[in-house]
Symmetry: C3
């Protein structure tokens, strides 16, 4: 028999006849709840049929991170931290001594209250950018642009939206998957009623972090949406000789600067002074169910990460090679999306701005699989070859758009 | 004999020889005070010669409402909530099962720390707009405009200004009127030293909410001011066949789109897909003391609201018919003001930007009278007829300005 | 023997073999620390060989100052308050009944969460300006300008940056100088990795407040920087007949309006309706070590302040005469800097934008010496004469730039 010990006053239990589900509400605007700190352990939940885990929430203090919150899920295999006050973004994943994420000059987890997205002609987002995964959307994404003289700042608002509801759930049945769900509201009178339930889940014993987001258009009108899952990895995984692999149907340079990178786009240089960023637009091949995978691995091919996604939801992939110096932010982005990173007016012209009908819902599923052995990397490489199954890569040598 | 029981440490009592006044300071920058929560009841005050009332303050949490505050005054007749952190605006009034206010896609009471008024070329105000009454002013109001290349964002700053001092007062003498007063500072070096003491009062036993604001120009120079009391009502009061009544001296369409609404501007359609908003500029007739009244009532003419104001203070009335779908925000605005909603440069050209001399003070008085019976509605209709006293309505068929 | 009594849990003690240093960390993003309130006294530290002192931190509440913090150092000679949440700026210094600082229409210590620097085409900084000393920098400073279509708002970001680490230190050895140090991070991905350790120090028994800032470029690239120490003084020190003195090598009017003030720039009028501001660009002479001093004194020449700085670090001096009415903000600025107050593109053209190499550090040293007797003022006047040592002042009669 399980013995459940809950911290007093901070848990919500939902009983039904046969299922014993555990939901812990940490934030809820409807009930005026924002727990400053909180923790639950598998031991407290009486879960003895799984490896131990802990879920912790804390509130951050000092500088521009004053009032930010951070939730950390820790299993024996990995530790993942996400930021409710910044769009439920993933700050970093750790597995053993390996950290997935990167080192930005922005070293605080910035409270959006201190961010002005319109700064520097729409680049205010850069004042807070340091996450392993940022949701860039959903009303708009990409480089700053203007429609009807209105500035759409870099990469939209979701990543600087504090979650309105946050729920930690632990599946009753083994393997007791842990979910951290958050509700993001991009609500603006006349303009937007996009709400997204984000779900980040981890199963004890599995080295994968899953994302399942559900975007709903709560308005009575068709609404455009765009999303880029800006997934970013730096050293030590990223290094000279590290490579990216994907079943690529088509690739084009984002701009003129990236043209010269077309020949060796799969390989990374070490930290390179003056490199800045080279960006490529990719269309991936997918399996019969629309699923595909991209992988970043280190030079020795013994550690890496696989980013799996559904091309019916996220048809394009931006590859962001920002292999500048370490201090400048040595990082690469593997970014599944509905759009490339061009301003919305360009994405619209080229047909990559999608529309959601009234009450329409669109799901987005991604997985970050941590690869910690040559065998795991080899398996993903074979999977990529299998998806491509000998089909060619079309190389477009000129940028498909000019900013 | 009255027996006063005060919560320890959170009340300020002012005694004078003959008057026993009760002032409760809830916020005060001068004494560094911001009570997170607070309550007082007529019982605790020992007031047995009136119907019971309660005044409550709480701090809100989660999402973009983190840190917002809300004060609720509840008598046997009505419940009114107002938002100290958002310009002392009225969030909603309830009377029995009837809620006066509306349902915006913005469903949180947003802390101004999360608002950037300049967003979308000056439409950031829409990220927080959901109140029954918003003060749109006082330095400027109306649609976004530019003077000297400076953007004046939609509807000014007052509604996104957290109050610097908040005082709840209960009259010692019956009927023990309850006042909630707040100090709004629109202070900017070189530009503005406008301070407004807002006063919202409710008398137990009376179904009226009164506003008495005093705007002071603390600068040594003449300062322009504008104000629109953006008073908004949705369903169930607003419905197909609901009507608005006022003693109208002159009416004009705000823009070309509103021209076709001139014939039936007094009647509301039900929620209408694609309606967007139709706006009319009205000049009301007033009684010999300058007082006038506008009324919104439901189709059955058994429930409504009367908005009374002083035309010497607030000479014009904007009628905002936003009878779009429910989710889009089905709402009408009855908006007494010094200005219409044109950008300030247009209002200035047409002579509706007022000036306050150094140390000058201007009062603004409004009343929201809840009408909950056919008889009450009938009385207000007769009052409106009496004010108009047979005088004609001048209909101007073309917009008086182009944005 | 000294007896040290420390508040439990809020002090960090660093012991070494021979030095007994006391560091109190009040804010630290690295350890997630932000003390809401704190105090230490010389008595608690067991320091009996000095005059008594107190250091206090508090958190401010209400209005737009909600969440601001204030640290006050009080010795028998002076009281100085500084604002960790606003760039470690000095709010005011008091000595006896004399207050150094000024009275701005902005009378709250505004939390930067409520500031939008881009407002009014880059004048949002004016919504919070009321300090005796504001750091205007470091990425840029001066009047709003644009480079690459990006708005650089008035006087940069440092003054609206909350400190990421705050440490109060008391020297173990007599005279037990008190340091308040703060870390300001102007970190933006791709753009800026400027970090500044500010140090404000006061020695019990000495009527001087010292500033020692160390700006570091943490990026791998050369970075431009600019700084103006905007030091502001109003009544009672500033009055009709008050004068400013400095060893001036060169002076020019900031704009056409200031041309007519060239003849009597050393003397101040009383509060003057319509005066607005007159600004002068000064190049000071320095002593052989590059040190110089400017002094503001009252009419009677019995009270004043000397501002000392190092011309190798801060080669130019802006004199801001804002002798408008009291309510408008009657104030003068004595502002040592690397730049004048022109927009950055002008400062760049004229060679006053400096560059810091990767990992480069630049120090800035200033002293505010409170002068409270005719003898002290006389001494500084003689010092100024000595520095000038009969060398001429070059008067440039036309503005050196047009905005």
């Amino acid at each position: 028999m399980k013995k459940a010990i809950f911290p007093v006053g901070i848990s919500v239990l939902l009983f039904s006849t046969s299922v014993f589900a555990k939901d812990f509400v940490l934030t809820d605007v409807a009930t005026n709840l924002e727990l400053a700190s909180w923790q639950i352990t598998s031991e407290e939940l009486g879960l003895t049929d799984t490896s131990a885990f802990t879920v912790t929430k804390k509130t951050l203090h000092g500088g521009r991170q004053e009032g930010s919150t951070l939730i950390t899920v820790e299993t024996k295999d990995l530790q993942v931290s996400l930021i409710p006050t910044r769009g439920m973004d993933i700050f970093a994943i750790k597995s053993g001594d390996l950290r997935y994420g990167w080192t930005s000059p922005v070293d605080e987890i910035v409270n959006p209250a201190y961010i002005a997205l319109d700064m520097r002609n729409g680049l205010g987002w850069l004042d807070g950018f340091n996450e392993m995964m940022v949701r860039c959307g959903f009303e708009w994404t990409g480089h700053p642009g203007r429609e009807k003289d209105r500035l759409m700042s870099l990469h939209g608002r979701a990543g600087n939206t504090p979650a309105s509801k946050v729920v930690v759930s632990v599946d009753d049945a083994p393997p007791h998957t842990i979910h951290v769900r958050g509700l993001l509201k991009e609500n603006t009178f006349k303009f937007s009623a996009l709400e997204t339930w984000t779900d980040m889940s981890v199963t004890p014993g599995v080295k994968t972090v899953k994302i399942h987001d559900e975007l709903t258009n709560n308005s009575d009108y068709d609404r455009d949406y765009q999303i880029i899952y800006h997934s970013n990895f730096g050293a030590p995984l990223l290094e000279e000789g590290a490579t990216v692999a994907a079943p690529v149907k088509e690739i084009s340079p984002f701009n003129d600067y990236a043209k010269k990178g077309l020949t060796d786009w799969r390989t990374y240089p070490g930290p390179t002074r003056g490199y800045d960023e080279m960006v490529f637009n990719l269309v991936p091949y997918a399996d019969k169910d629309g699923r595909t995978v991209a992988m970043l691995r280190d030079k020795a091919a013994d550690r890496g990460i696989a980013v799996r996604f559904d091309t019916r939801q996220l048809p394009v992939l931006t590859l962001w090679k920002n292999t500048d110096t370490l201090k400048q932010g040595y990082v690469t982005g593997i970014e599944p999306g509905t759009s490339y990173a061009y301003p919305r007016q360009i994405e619209r012209t080229q047909g990559r701005v999608r529309t959601l009908a009234p009450n329409g819902t669109q799901s987005f599923d991604l997985e970050y699989q941590l690869l910690t052995s040559p065998g795991e990397i080899d398996a993903v490489e074979r999977e990529i070859l299998s998806i491509a199954s000998g089909r060619p890569t079309k190389i477009i040598r000129q940028p498909i758009a000019k900013e």
